[in-house]
Amino acid sequence: MHAKMIAAAVALFVACERPVDQAPPAKLAGVRVVDLIPASLSGETWQDAEPFLALYASNTKLMAASAFTPNPGGSASATAPIYVSDDGGDSWTLRNTLPSQAMTADITHAVGGNPPVLYAGIMKVPGFPLNELKTSDFLSVATMTLQSSRPDIDQPFVRTTDVANADRVYIGLNDFDAPEGRTATVDVSHNGGATYTSRRIETRNTMGQNGPSVRPAVAQDHTVYVAYFGWRSNTGSDVTSDVVVVRDDSGATGATPFRHLLDPSDHLPGRLVATHVTIPWSNAATLGQERIGSTLSIAVDALHSDNVYLAWADRVGTGDIYTVHVRRSTDRGATWSGDLRTLTNATDASLAVSTNGTVGLLYQQVTGSGGTSRWVTRLEQSRDGFATHQDVVLATVPATTPTFQFLPYIGDYNYLLTRGNQFLGIFSANNTPDSTNFPQGVVYQRRVDFPTHRLLDGAGAPVAVSIDPFFFSAPVLP
């Protein structure tokens, strides 16, 4: 028995990445990395963390992005900004169109069908109520329209699907007003956000609530998967959790949605992909100045909804701080692989599956230690369930500078999407204009001086290093 435990520990150790020893892979042709901060805000020094990205299917030039970027007008401003691009991500502008005082406390967004509509879920400042928002023209400077609002929620996560007559909108969120402490919820709209119905997806007892991350993913055949953390108990700040996936086969249009995937252990809705994992809930700078506890991502092959990938992070207990796991199901979530990827001291995992079945995995990992530690942002791609994968380093930046202004430092999440033969995504990182920090190259809109690695304001004076959002695109493995 003892020998088996040692063997298991050795196998686990071998399976885990050893990031310190890895050399950065070579530059990959066709990768773009663009700092979103526009030239006219060259003097900004804010911590633009927790970025998110939305793509317009009907116009590949149009994109919307967000981060914890404040209205440049100051803290009393009645609106908060989003970034928009009308040239496929080469350049970005900032527009104050969100009804939140200066900044949001959480934001995600997605684009509906035709005509293209941008839906956003925010936690509004002040008071932090959920605001479910919509605009039919995100290039407009008009404030987005409020469709629904309520208090006591966390981490709204917006996905949409294109239906002939009306958009379907799915907003995963942690609803503290849900009964019996089963707080994992999806707000579902089948009429373009005109009305929402809150669907409770937790069917088991919890420790009083679920984890904050509730992540929907939608396939073209209207299969909807939702991943969430089933928090069962806690000891101090360590939460014992199940990692759960529910599924609905008809776009959550039925009276009792998200009940199509049962677990064989108790025959309740919600497949238990992993049980009794330890979630280190830390609302303090814990991993490269970042807090941890809510990393979760799910992605479905849009054309083949049997094929779904899941990533989450927990503490394995082998000396790690936080470890990302990636698993796959090829039978609609009924059975799941073991770990396809196990990434030590990583967070912000985000998955996407391209139309040719290639899976992309974006994540951010701390390598090294102390003053030499670095945040390394990678995009991995695989055609064979991560038996082999292509690895691209998008950024490798100091993890100890700048000092955090607030948490999250780089974000409780980032985001990865796919369209055609491209992966497109967004992450936040230290913005020092140093080419060695961006092995694939980088384009700044804000004023910089690469030879001296300095940021400059409009008058040419040096500007302090801060956290910026970076858009990227990379060709999908053929």
Binding site: S40, S75, T93, M123, F128, V141, A285, A459
Partner: protein, 277 residues
């Protein structure tokens, strides 16, 4: 030497409609975050492609920046796009002081006009700079007076102790685990100078968020030994309006706005504003 009173600095400004036409400079400043002296170079035009041209857009060359957020790159000689309040209100060659808010930030800056003040060419930049600064001072004083009026207590004092808050949750509302948890703390402040609603020597409990979460960024924090002037509001945020000091239940206060915590020297300014009719 500028000795004119603020009243004399109030000017008639170019604004749409008669009701708004007599807005004071302070009112314009209050609504503006980018203020500059500039000369109109084009009408029905834009300086950057990301802004759509219309009969309300003009291009203005910056002559002097009077106020702007630090992040905004704007220097003399730059061209900005201005969405005017009223079409046709400004002609090429006109110099004015523009009171604006940020609109679109891209390769260049586009702003929305709040109002403008026509200049006699050339506008005396130093005079305008001082006038705008004085108006901003008026605005800041007015905002502070409003906060003083709504404060239940205004004191100058010293933070003696900081401790985790002991809140009494309502039975139906268990504590939630969320990254936005304020992690309420309590500062015990010894009142040295009782300006409003307190007496010197009082001990006052002030609640503040200890969390580093983004939702609470910019909220004043307290540290033992800190001396300041505090504008305190009865705690209507935590759901637990009372706290314990030396075994006594006392009202709890908050100071969640940036102007609720001022320097100790600001006590004089606060007293003066209270006395001001």
């Amino acid at each position: 030497m500028h000795t004119r009173s603020p009243m004399l600095l109030a000017v008639a400004l170019a604004l749409p409609g008669s009701a708004a036409a007599q807005l004071s400079r302070a009112a314009l400043v209050k609504q503006s975050d980018i203020i500059f002296i500039g000369t109109v170079t084009q009408v029905h035009a834009v300086a950057v492609p990301e802004v759509p041209a219309s009969d309300r857009t003009i291009v203005v060359r910056i002559d002097q920046v009077l106020e702007k957020p630090a992040a905004v790159a704007l220097t003399p000689g730059d061209s900005v796009t201005v969405q005017t309040v009223r079409p046709g209100s400004l002609k090429p060659g006109t110099q004015a002081t523009f009171y604006t808010t940020g609109w679109i930030f891209g390769r260049g800056v586009a702003v929305r006009e709040v109002g403008h003040e026509l200049g006699h060419s050339p506008v005396v930049a130093a005079d305008q700079q001082e006038a705008v600064a004085r108006a901003r001072h008026e605005v800041n004083d007015a905002e502070l007076r409003a906060h003083i009026r709504t404060a239940a207590m205004v004191v100058a004092g010293r933070v003696e102790q900081v401790r985790p808050a002991e809140l009494t949750p309502a039975p139906a509302r268990p504590k939630r685990i969320t990254e936005h948890d304020p992690d309420w703390q309590e500062a015990i402040i010894a009142v040295q100078d009782a300006i409003k609603g307190a007496q010197a020597g009082d001990r006052v409990v002030v609640r503040f968020p200890g969390s580093s979460d983004v939702a609470w960024v910019g909220t004043p924090r307290f540290a033992v030994g800190q001396e300041a002037t505090f504008l305190l509001h009865k705690d209507s945020t935590t759901g637990s309006p009372f706290a314990m000091v030396a075994g006594q239940s006392v009202p709890a206060y908050t100071a969640l706005h940036q102007v609720d915590v001022l320097s100790k020297a600001d006590a004089l300014r606060v007293r003066a504003l209270i006395r001001k009719p």
